[in-house]
Symmetry: D2
């Protein structure tokens, strides 16, 4: 009989003032599958402790470093079974490897790392660990994204011809103050990596395109810019994609597109039909079978398929959002962790370490292609 | 210093297969302010126990009746501090009164009851209890609804002239099978009360209109129907509203409007501006200052005001939905419960027992007006 | 063989500065079926002449009064075959009767008149004349409105249960200057009639509901207001409708709904499906067969039916608008006029004198019901 | 004093069954500035005559060839002052040069020609003729496009950074029958030129981007496809754009994007604001000043500027469409022709012969770049 009691989880990063850490915590609470019982929430010890207490973590399990935490938790009978790593990109590799080596599953924010070297180290550690490594490409958790993936896999769109992927924001339209913590590390190449916009959001658009279509990339050609004076990383990327098998794509990501908050949009066209979905209103998706009127498919509605319904909590018209999509990643992680207790390391639809490495290669490919006048490049040559 | 540890909560109703009980549980988990530790989840004891175990409730605190639960929990040192009542309408009064008398705060699903008599009994119990009574008119928890309320209170729309409130669904378009549990009790006057559609969703539209505008009803004129053969309660209501001070309104609620899933829409027009909001995409609201272009206000975006931001979890473009709006009710309930420990029984913007009684009077007024050829009636004469 | 040469047309009203006269002229030009050759364009002779010359009308055929014009044109071999009357409401009866008596077909702007007495006089004149009388309820010319009518007539929506008709504007939100010509006569009961908003736009919403559904009105209950201080006619009307056969409806028209330009919206729900259409983007209509995803039907698109295609000029995605819808009325008027040469007085789908009289009765019914505390009234008792 | 009587116009092409010829005729009628009095409407003489008679053209002025027409009309005292050329792309040069040489102004459909050679010949003829040459890039006639152009020229968006231009259709998703006249010539390289989709619609998207932003192209990189088996010209083009001064762009045009009818969309982002407009609902445009809520600008509405109002016929909420936008090109052509009588050859905002040549170079650049693995190419090197 399966033990359905909540899974003990620890967190690295995500102290007071952090954005994505708070999101992870809500996501893990929604379906009640986790208990947050340990943390190394900040590199500043007092802040780490204060954050831990606020979150109901026992002071003894608030650690000053991830190393200390990995060692201590691995030694406890009631130690954490999984850790969520929500630090900035350049601080993923250290804790990820430490916890994997300590025999603790890892849930890690994306992109996997700010360098390919670190990514490969994490990958090696993950593959030799016998533990799970789950990357929170959270947008894959939306029910209608699951529906799109299943429709395409089932041939409802025919042969895929074109993918139009976009991720537009505007919050970096102007130069940012040094005290904007979210902006600061994302625009600092030492912390975010060589990619700015491409790493922060371009990877999401790329990952989602791959996730939904199942297509593999052949090569890409990119033209990137830093439009704001003095910015050291890109804030706008234009990319043309060639997929294996002949499909083509365009990918645009921008953090300086005024009027866009978090506009991740995916449009996919095949020989038999088209799909159009935008993250800001994720409860609807437009589907057109060729030669027929466009349909509005709704999450939980009459046209929802099994893949969508499997990750749906509320009926049609009762909108789910970003946090529920994120929660689905955690919910499926919980199921995977329980299955792993019996030795099953399959994580189903969840983004994997390979997706993480591919994402880093994508970042490098975009940056390197652009540096070489938009030369066509492959991921494997990065 | 405030004790921020989770509040011990029990639940009445909400066993396996129930819709709204599961929603309440997610809502209470999102912000991590409650622990569900006791329940009388079903009137069938085995089902109650099975449901409790699934939810991690200790078998000893799974009760066969709400009476037993109220008595036992009140006697425990670690007894529940609040109970959530999520039974069908006709089963609210019993547990509500029992727990209030036992000195336990009550969070109760809407409408308050299926009869005015029961509503008044609950009200009397609540008022004499010194305990909190919170009604989950969850739609009041949406950030942009809070924004609208604050804008109107601040005079940004000038004098309110018209309110157009709608709540359209289509799930009862055809006669329902007896084994559709959700439909069965909602269309059975013994359980839902004299109102069908009016009680289930019309009350939400009415409550939201009142909540946002602050206007008080003078009188209403209603014309209601049961369009489906054999249906014993209304499935469509047309209502004209007259507010004190001269504003007018129309309220339409329907469960047979094909193509509408859960289309709760509120449009409010004043002498200086207009607001338009629809629940199915709750992250945007249209605002037009007279003589200027329409604006799209977004939750978390550039135009969000303090009232909206106070109940916002994610940045603009990261959509929140139904569950987050519901969670805000629970989050504010938690804050109120903590304040009540020090004797402060104010519940701020939360819907109260008076809103609950008013909702029942609204149901009766609609039904009675329609029975008298849409005669204008007041709530107080019900 | 049919004579397809353009039909000689005259115009009464519509001189410089007039809004609706210019619209009529564009509408009649679009399909090239008319030549404007005579006019009594203004009650000010110099302005009438200047307007005529601007429009290429021979000075000899610019008349100082409609009486003179009717007499003179009837006497010419090349006299006009039809007159378009585009004066304010209170000046329809005089010219309409004069031209009908002179044996000239009449195309008349709506509403038919500002009084029932005048309406009945025009009706009597029309019926005894052997000539055509066509009312320009232009919104009936939209292709998707024709599609909706045909779908309902063909049973695609099943039995019609509810009609939600709205016509919201905001241009009269504040008191208007005396020199705003368009506002001045519309808010002057001597010229517009007892109804303000109800006559100017409420009649359109009512007519369109009737046109599309084919339902006949049983009775209505209305609550109307003049929200702007000092306004002598209504600027907001709330109406409940009961149709023969049991369907119900609500009709809201307003000229003080801030944020609405010309928002005529029609939503119709039957036992098998629902339709939703809004005039401001008239090239799409939402159609939901019960239990299936909502479709977006487009003018000229895959789901367009014969009735829509018959009045469509451009392919899907090449938007047609207000002027094309209006032009369809003129185009069908031209066909009717040609058919009338052979004695066929049938005008097909075109709004008739009976629609005109019904519209005036509707205005009176709304005003009178409201004056009697929203009493249910019929049209025939007006 | 200006002679405001209608301008005598002839047409080449546009006989029975032609799509764009009929559109031109409606467009020229809307504002009443032209009389169609002569034509060489078809290369089949009987069809030419039948078409002419249908259109009210005197049989004597229905010509068997454009050469004959040019000669005969130039010799008449009442000969045409302007000709509209609406033949397929490969048949523009002959008539254009013939009429220009005969001293007759030319209005010509786009693209200018199917070859650069012919384009340059037309250009030379136009420049030495002293006559007007107007290219019907009709989408430049939309009021909100004029508004966007003026806003950008006035600095309201700051420095332009990115242009996202799209033109998606789906009508060529499958192989077309030989008897589909519209599809046949557009997919035949002998008639359409080397470009298929790029020439038919890609040029519109490019022209509109240039028109609105005023930016000049530096270079482009293109990746084009013919997704349908056996198709000889492209049906999908992915293009990256680099503008002089540093702005970047992406341009996607497709005729196989299932679910798109005529989806020409333009999104422009600058350092101070963003604009988003889509042709299928051309009466609205989204405008976001950085850091403020998005506005919905409407044609004829509160936010409309002088440039938009100058080409607007109906008030806000009374939608104008494709034909009105097209008519504006004709209306401005009429004004230009009248001004040319006095020697003024300026055509204001109207697309010129230079735009036509640039459009042909754009087509070649896209095709040639793609053939060379998406190499960056300039227009001048074509």
């Amino acid at each position: 009989m399966t033990d359905n009691s909540p899974i003990r989880l620890g967190m690295v990063g995500g102290g007071q003032g952090a954005f994505i850490g708070a999101v992870h915590r809500i996501a893990m609470r929604i379906d009640g599958q986790f208990n947050l019982v340990a943390g190394a929430l900040s590199s500043t010890p007092e802040k780490a402790l204060a954050s831990a207490l606020e979150l109901g973590i026992d002071a003894k399990r608030s650690y000053g470093s991830y190393d200390e935490m990995a060692t201590a938790e691995a030694a406890r009978d009631d130690g954490i079974e999984v850790v969520a790593i929500v630090t900035p990109n350049h601080m993923h590799a250290g804790p990820a490897i430490a916890f994997l080596k300590a025999g603790i599953h890892v849930i890690c924010d994306k992109p996997l790392s700010n360098t390919l070297e670190d990514s490969l180290l994490i990958s090696a550690a993950a593959k030799s660990s016998g533990k799970l490594f789950i990357l929170t490409h959270n947008y894959t958790g939306y029910p209608l994204i699951r529906q799109a993936k299943a429709m395409i896999a089932g041939g409802e769109l025919g042969d895929i011809r074109m993918v139009q992927a976009e991720y537009a924001q505007d919050w970096l339209t102007e130069a940012t103050d040094a005290d904007n913590k979210q902006a600061a590390w994302r625009t600092d190449p030492k912390r975010s990596g060589v990619g700015g916009c491409v790493g922060d959001i371009g990877t999401h658009a790329y990952n989602l395109s791959r996730f939904v279509t199942g297509l593999e990339l052949d090569s890409l050609s990119a033209d990137i810019d830093a439009f704001v004076d003095g910015r050291l990383v890109d804030d706008n990327i234009n990319v043309m994609l060639r997929f294996k098998g002949g499909a083509k794509g365009m990918l645009w990501a921008s953090q300086v597109a005024v009027g866009n908050e978090n506009n991740l949009t995916l449009r996919i066209y095949g020989s038999k039909g088209g799909l159009e979905w935008a993250q800001e209103n994720p409860n609807i998706m437009y589907y057109t079978p060729f030669g027929e009127p466009k349909r509005i498919l709704t999450r939980g509605g009459a046209g929802a398929n099994d893949a969508a319904n499997a990750v749906t909590r509320t009926p049609g018209g009762h909108p789910e959002g970003y946090l529920e999509g994120f929660a689905t990643i955690y919910n499926e992680a919980a199921a995977s962790i329980r299955a792993a207790r019996a030795g099953n390391l399959d994580t189903g639809a969840l983004p994997t370490i390979d997706d993480g490495v591919e994402g880093v290669r994508f970042i490098l490919a975009v940056v390197n292609s652009s540096a070489d006048n938009a030369k066509w490049v492959t991921l494997s040559e990065q």
